[in-house]
């Protein structure tokens, strides 16, 4: 299974300097993930407890590098939601 939607990967390659908001699914412990992210130019926004995910902001170039990490199992774009009134 691909770690990222191919269309998103393509967009990141085309615009590597673009800032992106992501949700990273990971394997392992959150402490290890924190250590792995510490050396990178990322802004970790939230660490979640119910699922093995973190939300962060980084450049598309950094996002492409994260995809190569073994502990990263899947990456989603942090998408908008809205109130469901008409």
């Amino acid at each position: 299974m691909s770690k990222i939607d191919p269309a998103v990967r393509k967009a990141w390659r085309a615009h590597p300097d673009q800032e992106v908001d992501l949700i990273i699914h990971y394997a392992g412990e959150v402490g290890e993930v924190g250590a792995a992210l510490a050396g990178r130019t990322v802004h970790v926004k939230r660490r979640f407890e119910l699922t093995r995910t973190v939300s962060l902001r980084c450049s598309a170039q950094v996002a492409l590098e994260l995809l190569k990490e073994a502990w990263v199992t899947r990456v989603e774009v942090d998408r908008p939601v809205k109130a469901l009134r008409r």
Binding site: F48, L50, T53, A83
Partner: protein
């Protein structure tokens, strides 16, 4: 009976007098002396007259007519009376009884002792209907705690408002439940998935038994995104999650995330006549599961208006009328609170099974109605397994230009 001068109601005469040049036709209801001949499919349409609905029990017809046509109808000896067709609203005082909640109140079930998490745009804790109901709040948007949109206050009162500003008329489903409000939507009614995930985690950490999520993205989805996973994990942690199906119906595959999550109770809408509005999102999910799970009233729901906001159709200082699966969802959360007060040992899957097993089928397929419209009293007293619903009609795959069915529902004809 009526003479010719009495045929037009005063309200209709007033509206006709106020019509300006170029104004469109008026919605009217005509009472005939006997059943009018079938209008639909009339090969000789009358200019200025549009047929909307012919009633079966009485010789009435709903029409859209210009003043000139109304004058001709008035002169027609077969016409007894002409009324203006006026908008109606499903107030909480009608939508709550529609699902059998007052019968549970009469048994002492009011949600007391149950914590409901509202993950939305915040809450106006100063609203009279919510006095003493808000146990804790948090802001995950960075915008401040105030509900600057109004959505969160409205849905909070649908779930657990006391109706204090309306002498109890607009009381929520579980008026003695306590609310834990996580603000994840900004003043424009929008937020990010990750903020919603954080809001759910916060509510779970507060020990809520029920969470109401009247928000989401666009469909289709398969229930595997991080927000859906968070919802399912919260259910695994023992919390009942009621999630709005969305308002992108009637196309199939229109349930978005997190409505497509596997373990949540996904809520669509009905109006006060138990008709399913076009907007209520339809399944299946992208991976072929039937959604929504249940329907509750969600059309023109009058409930609390946050101070300084104008969302919906403002009724007065304290109330506003809003439509959407957003409004049906906290009603479901309130019903869940009543069931959990009665039987605290129920697990989330039990609550879902109870509600689905007791739901009133409306004759639609499972991707339109789920198990049907909620009946809270039956869910409490008639323990039943989910009833089979008609198989969904074959649906085109998403992205193929799905056909949008033309609604024949009176509700929408009235709005056209």
């Amino acid at each position: 009976m009526y003479d010719d001068h009495d045929k037009l109601t005063r309200g209709l005469m007033r509206s006709l007098a106020e019509l300006g040049a170029g104004d469109g036709p008026l919605p009217i209801i005509v009472r005939y002396s006997s059943r009018p001949r079938v209008m639909r499919g009339n090969p000789h349409p009358v200019p200025g007259l549009r047929e909307r609905y012919q009633f079966r029990l009485l010789p009435f017809a709903a029409l859209q007519a210009t003043p000139e046509v109304i004058a001709r109808l008035e002169a027609d000896p077969r016409v007894l009376r002409i009324f203006q067709d006026l908008p109606v609203r499903a107030l909480l005082d009608t939508s709550v009884p529609q699902i059998g909640v007052p019968r549970l109140w009469a048994e002492g079930l009011t949600g007391e002792g149950i914590k409901i998490g509202i993950v939305d745009s915040g809450v106006d804790a100063s609203h009279p209907d919510l006095q003493g109901r808000i146990a804790d709040v948090t802001d995950l948007t960075g915008e401040g705690l105030d509900d600057k949109h109004g959505h969160g206050t409205h849905v909070s009162s649908v779930a657990a408002g006391s109706g204090a500003a309306s002498a109890g008329r607009y009381r929520g489903a579980a008026p003695q439940a306590t609310i834990y409000s996580a603000k994840v939507l900004r003043a424009n009614g929008e937020g990010m998935m990750s903020d919603v995930m954080a809001g759910i985690e916060w509510a779970v950490a507060q020990g809520v038994q029920v969470i109401s999520l009247s928000l989401g993205g666009t469909g289709p989805c398969d229930g595997t995104d991080a927000l859906c996973e968070t919802c399912d994990a919260a259910v695994d942690a023992g919390v009942v999650l009621c999630v709005a199906a969305g308002n992108d119906g009637p196309d199939p595959y229109s349930v978005g995330s997190p409505g497509c999550a596997r373990k949540v109770i996904t809520i669509g809408a009905v109006n006060d006549q138990d008709r399913i509005p076009d907007f209520s999102a339809r399944g299946p999910t992208a991976d072929g599961r039937a959604k929504p799970d249940l329907l509750l009233p969600g059309v023109d729901i009058v409930a609390a208006r946050a101070s300084g906001t104008s969302m919906g159709t403002v009724m007065d200082q304290y109330y506003t009328s809003v439509t959407g699966t957003s409004m049906a969802t906290p009603l479901a959360a309130g019903v869940c609170a009543l069931l959990l007060q009665a039987e605290p040992q129920l697990q989330p899957a039990d609550v879902k099974a109870r509600l689905m097993g007791a739901a009133i089928g409306l004759g639609a397929d499972s991707n339109t109605q789920g198990a049907g419209r909620v009946d809270a009293w039956r869910a409490r007293h008639e323990v039943a397994q989910p009833t089979p619903t008609p198989e969904p009609a074959p649906s085109p795959a998403p992205g193929r230009g799905c056909l949008v069915a033309v609604s024949r529902m009176l509700f929408f004809l009235r709005r056209s």
